[in-house]
C-alpha cells in the first residue's frame, strides 16, 4: 500500500515522513549517504575510479593522448571532461547525443576542474608548442540516484590520483616521439575539491545528499564545492530563494564533510598500493 501511495502522491508521501523529522530512507535531514571509492580497477585506462554515493554510481576513466598545444597557450596541455548518462542508469535517459542534463553537469565539472586547479595544465606539456598530453576524463553514470556532482568529483579525484603517464623522448627537430612504457610517473595533484549537494524541500526543509526522488520533488537545489577552506564553486540553479545565514549553514555542513572524503580517497589509494 505504501508503494501505491508513493507512486500516486509522492509529495504527500514525503511530507508525511518529513513532519516526523525523518526521510523515507530513514536518514536524518543532514545525514549524508555512505560513500565508497574504488580506484584503479580499469587497467585499460591510464587512471580510473568508481565512486558510490548511496546508490549513485559513477565510473571515471582517464585516458591520455598526444596532441599539439594551442597557439595561445603553448605551454599547456588539455583536460577534457565529459559526463555520459547512458539509458542504462535510469529510464529517464535515451541513447543518442547527450541530454541537456548531461551537458549542464559536464560544464559544471569542467568549471570545477578549472577553478580548483587540481591539475595544472602546464604539467601536461611535454614540449612547448609541439607536444602535450590531453587527458580525456570520461564519467559514466551506472546508477542515477541523485547528488551526481558529488559522486563525479569524488571519482575524479580518485582517478586523477591513480593517473600515471609514461615518459616520452621527444625530438623536436624531427618530430619523433618515443614512449617508454616501463617508466611511468604520477601526475602532480595540487588540490582536492570536495563537493556537497543539498536540496530545499517546501522552501524550508534542507536535506543533505538528496536521492533522485528528492531531487525531483524539491523546490531548490544547491551544490557547494570546497577546496580546503576555499570556496571553489557554488551552483544554485534558481529554485527557492536563500538567506545569507542559510547559505553559510550549508557551507558549514559541507566543510564538515571534507575530511571524511579526503580520508576515503587516501584509504582507497592505500588499498591499491598494498
Amino acid at each position: 500500500m505504501a508503494e501505491q501511495y508513493r507512486s500516486l502522491h509522492p509529495i504527500k508521501y514525503y511530507r508525511d515522513y518529513l513532519v516526523h523529522n525523518v526521510r523515507p530512507d530513514g536518514r536524518q535531514f543532514d545525514k549524508f549517504r555512505p560513500v565508497i571509492l574504488n580506484v584503479g580497477s580499469i587497467d585499460t585506462a591510464d587512471g580510473s575510479a568508481i565512486a558510490k554515493v548511496g546508490r549513485t554510481t559513477i565510473v571515471c576513466g582517464i585516458k591520455a593522448e598526444f596532441c599539439r598545444p594551442k597557439a595561445e597557450t603553448p605551454d599547456q596541455g588539455f583536460i577534457v571532461p565529459n559526463l555520459e548518462l547512458p539509458p542504462l542508469c535510469s529510464p529517464k535517459f535515451k541513447s543518442g547525443p547527450p541530454s541537456d542534463q548531461a551537458q549542464v553537469l559536464t560544464q559544471i565539472i569542467a568549471d570545477i576542474i578549472q577553478h580548483s586547479k587540481c591539475v595544472d595544465p602546464k604539467d601536461l606539456c611535454i614540449f612547448p608548442d609541439k607536444l602535450a598530453w590531453c587527458l580525456f576524463v570520461d564519467f559514466i553514470c551506472l546508477d542515477y540516484d541523485g547528488s551526481l556532482v558529488d559522486a563525479c568529483i569524488m571519482a575524479l579525484m580518485g582517478a586523477l590520483r591513480t593517473v600515471t603517464l609514461p615518459s616520452v623522448d621527444y625530438d623536436p627537430s624531427l618530430d619523433n616521439k618515443l614512449v617508454n612504457l616501463e617508466e611511468r610517473k604520477h601526475l602532480p595533484i595540487h588540490s582536492t575539491p570536495i563537493s556537497a549537494t543539498f536540496v530545499i524541500f517546501d522552501d524550508k526543509i534542507i536535506l543533505a545528499d538528496p536521492t533522485v526522488d528528492e531531487e525531483n520533488l524539491c523546490t531548490g537545489i544547491i551544490t557547494i564545492v570546497l577546496k580546503g577552506d576555499d570556496l571553489c564553486c557554488i551552483h544554485k540553479p534558481g529554485g527557492s530563494p536563500l538567506t545569507e545565514e542559510e547559505l553559510f549553514e550549508y557551507i558549514g555542513k559541507s566543510k564538515k564533510r571534507a575530511p571524511l572524503i579526503n580520508n576515503l580517497i587516501e584509504a582507497a589509494l592505500e588499498n591499491i598500493n598494498k
Binding site: 500500500m1 501505491q4 500516486l8 502522491h9 516526523h20 530513514g26
Partner: protein, 206 residues
Amino acid sequence: MAGELLICVPGQRLCLCDKVYTSGQGTYERQGYIYSQLAGYVDIVEKDGVKIVEVHTSGEQTVVPAQGDIVTAQVNIITQQYCKCYIKCIGDAVLRRPYRAVLRREDIRATEKDKVEVYKSFRPGDIILARVLPITEAHTYQLSTAENELGVVIAHSEYGHPMVPVSWTQMQCSKTYVKEFRKVAKVVPENINQQRLIKRAELVTE
C-alpha cells in the same frame, strides 16, 4: 516460513501437467510438463478439484495492463469527449513507468450515458480506479469506470485540500466544505494506514 517454500528459476520443470495439475500464473506448459517462467516461489492453488500451479516472484513482476484488470490511474487532461490518464498501478502492483490510457465519455457511467459530462466526473489530478477495456488496434489503453466500485478515490478541491465523498456524484472539501461533482467510487475500506509505515521508519532509524 521461507524454509518450506519451493524456490524455482525460469525454465525449471515443476511437475507433470495432467488432470490434477494445471499451469497457472507465472508458469507455462510444454510437452506435458509445467515449467516456471519466473524466478520466485511455487504456490499451488486448489480450485474445483484442480490444482493450479503458480509461481510468484519475490520482487516486483513485470506486468502490463491487460483486458479486465482493475487499475489505478491519475487523470491528466480532460476534454468534452474523453479524459486522458496515466495508469500507475495494476491491482496491487506499482508500475515504475506509467502507461497512457483514455477514458471516453460514454464509458464513465453505466446509466444515463448521454447525460454524462466529463468535467462533472473527473478533474485533472484525480486518482481513479478503472477497468481496462479490450485492447483495440489503437496504441493507448481504454478504460471504463462504469461500475459502482470504480471512479474517483482521491481528489483535491480547487483550493488544494483533500475531499471526502458525500454521495456517488459529489465530494466535499475537508477545509472549505465546498462541494464538487465527481464520479465517486464506492471504496472498500483498506486496513493498512500510512501512520504505521511511518512508525516503522522511525523504528529503523532509532
